[in-house]
Amino acid sequence: MKTGIMKKAKIYLIIALVAIAAGMTMFGVLGFNSSIDYRYGYELSIEIDQNTGNAAEVMKDAAVDYFATNGLNPYYPGTQQLDEGAQLIYKFNADVSEKKGEILTAVQNALDDKSEVKGIKATVEVYETNGASDAPFGYAVLAVGVGMIAVAIYMFIMQRISAAVATLCSGVLASALFMSLMAIIRLPASPFVAVTFAASGIIASLLSASTAHAYKEYIKNNDNGKISFADIANEVSLGEKKKYLFTFISLLVAAAAFMAFGTMSFVIMGAQLIFAAVCGTLSAFLVTPFIWALIKGAGKNK
């Protein structure tokens, strides 16, 4: 009896369930790594009272040089155009108030060194922040959960109970594993964690659904009554490997295309997409055959 996939599926399930247990515990205690776009961080504001010539560029270059020299790593620089001046806002997870004087000196010196912007006055402030900027994650969990149930009902109508349960399990496992990995690895959740969470469940569901159809097709086209459901699952899944590999590589390409720009927000988004791709494709590839064969009666012949 060929059991390659089934054995790997058992190992994957054990690792995944341990990761989910650990991850959910961490999530319960610490939550996600809420970057400062959610709540509780610090903002460094550098403001000039006139934006003539290239004053804003000089201010920005001086600030970036200072951060690089002093090992400071800000998130998402944003700019504001004031009526006459300009303002740069850098976001930090720690209080940088003690660096305020040095940053002001660096920026003011840079402005004074350039004749075309000499005389422009800079000010620096550090603010403690408290705020949120996106809809609660809980609604995304609710939506994906209800969606998975709807998918299972659809698969039950199309294929009966084994395919329905297999699709449901792979989708739920993928989503739970994604949440757990985010909680364990502490990747910043950022404003789009709800999106990538949903993506992990969607990827697992759609791949699982097409694989379930492949099982049905195999049974229809093969008259060998001595082959067990476990062997069917194993053989078909190995045949589906190329599809999973292609989907996984495509998702990695999508993630890399965003990350290549180097913008912090895109790097985080790309990393989350990679998590979603790994959780979605692995869960569908390994969990679908395992659950399908288990419900059909793995050792029984078809």
């Binding site: 998402y76 949120a132 949903a198 495509s250």
Partner: protein, 453 residues
């Protein structure tokens, strides 16, 4: 093995498709595709105006292009200390969502190195024509007060014993009697107590005037005209506004009242995207790079069939972009960009599934290329539709339950699922049918190989 003959029946099983016909049809489709490409990506002047391309017409949200920021500072004549700034932030966020803003930033800030007790609140969101008045509504102070009397603009407070108003909702628009003016309706729903007492007051007066105010000085319903019991539909009083924004603002204010604290609103300030610079451009380039790499993969893996898949994927990208302006109410945020990328991957996976199936059919049987293509499309029809249905179901519930980036993701992904199904089931088959008659050695053209016995 029977050699392929030129001019055989097309893969769709229809009549003969001659080489000439294929060339003509492919040329027409190529011209149409080129036209769509130009209209989607190229900007050019037309007379004194500019054509901004389909891409330029997409409505972008705050996280893609930035917007406007307002700072709320606690007013000097604010009477109560702010106990829970989180609650204030949550209330402001709720109100912004109620007014239709999906992507925004609401942050409470205070100097970290000074002994300052109170937070300022910074609101950043997309610039709209009604933003200034929306922010005034969102940050308005005070409680709902009902005033009534037998004279216009009454000053006497009424219905103070219990809660008189249950809520309010924006009730849609209608055309006025003149047939050209649109009015926007708000339904104010009274409680049993409020309705009963108000009816008593109206019936006991020859004419009765009702005025609804928020805090001090903000009049929501002017008491300049008398009201009668005919103005009520059940327990609801209908009020008309000249603008949709005004109607929605009024409904929100009646529903949620004012903040418990008085804030002064700063002048607006222009802000860039919180995610970085040129986010919209970078997103477009990323999607373009993803599409290009998928096209290269298709051609390398499947050669001639890969060309058909590539053309379908190109049409998918163009159609998806056009849908972003054709479907009303879509404002593209970063969640929407992820939705487009994921739907492109889904469409590519569906095409890959078909291509692989065709290759397997040809390899494991004695079918001709055309027969294998037909069988491949037939066999993968149900799995591909299932993939689309599963994806679409989750997208529907995301649309129902979520807001912000997740909502936009669901919208663009849902559109992408439908367009992807059309591309993988219809376009790919069409291109394949058109290209088959042009291929001399079909086996070599499609990179098919019989399995060794």
């Amino acid at each position: 093995m029977r050699p392929e003959k030129r001019g055989e029946h097309s893969a769709s099983g229809g009549g003969n498709m001659s080489k000439g016909k294929s060339i003509i049809l492919l040329s027409i489709i190529s011209l149409l595709t080129a036209f769509l490409l130009v209209m989607t990506f190229v900007r050019f002047p037309i007379g004194v105006r500019n054509y901004n391309s389909v891409l330029g017409a997409i409505d972008l949200d705050y996280d893609m292009v930035g917007g406007t920021a307002y700072t709320l500072t606690l007013s000097e004549d604010n009477e109560e200390d702010v106990d829970d700034i989180d609650e204030v932030v949550d209330t402001l966020e709720y109100r912004l969502r109620a007014l239709g803003y999906s992507v925004f930033s609401v942050k409470a800030v205070k100097p970290a190195d000074k002994d300052v007790k109170d937070y300022e609140i910074r609101i950043e969101t997309k610039t709209t024509s009604s933003l200034s008045s929306d922010i005034s509504v969102v940050a308005s102070y005070g409680e709902i007060v009902l005033k009534g009397g037998e004279n216009a603009n009454p000053t006497e407070e009424i219905l103070t014993e219990e809660k008189a108003i249950a809520g309010a909702n924006y009730a849609g628009s209608y055309l006025g009697a003149d047939g050209s003016t649109t009015y926007y309706q708000v339904a104010i729903n009274f409680t049993e107590y409020g309705y009963r007492e108000l009816m008593n007051l109206i019936s006991n007066s020859s004419s009765y005037y009702l005025q609804i105010e928020l805090g001090e000085g903000t009049v929501l319903l002017s008491g300049s005209s008398p009201i009668t019991d005919t103005a009520f539909d059940g327990h609801s009083l209908g009020i008309v506004s000249q603008t949709e924004a005004g109607a929605r603002q009024m409904a929100l204010q009646v529903n949620s009242g004012g903040l418990a604290y008085r804030y002064d609103i700063s002048d607006p300030v222009e802000v860039t995207s919180p995610l970085g610079s040129d986010i919209a451009l970078k997103s477009a380039i990323a999607i373009g790079v993803l599409s290009l790499i998928l096209i290269i993969l298709f051609i390398v893996l499947f050669r001639g069939f890969g060309v058909a898949m590539s053309l379908s994927l190109l049409l998918f990208v163009l159609l998806e972009t056009i849908m972003l302006i054709a479907v009303p109410g879509i404002t593209l945020s970063i969640g929407g960009v992820i939705g487009i990328a994921l739907s492109a991957v889904l469409a590519a996976s569906e095409m890959f599934l078909t291509a692989n199936k065709i290759r397997t059919e040809y390899g494991n049987s004695q079918k001709t290329v055309k027969a294998a293509v037909k069988k491949g499309f037939t066999t993968t029809l149900v799995p591909i539709i299932s993939m689309g249905v599963c994806s679409g179901l989750v997208a529907v519930f995301l649309l129902i339950f979520t807001a912000g980036a997740a909502y936009c993701f669901a919208a663009t992904f849902g559109i992408g699922v439908i367009v992807g199904l059309i591309a993988s089931l219809l376009f790919t088959r069409m291109f394949c049918s058109l290209m088959l008659p042009l291929a001399g050695d079909k086996e070599k053209f499609f990179k098919f190989k019989r399995a060794e016995a």
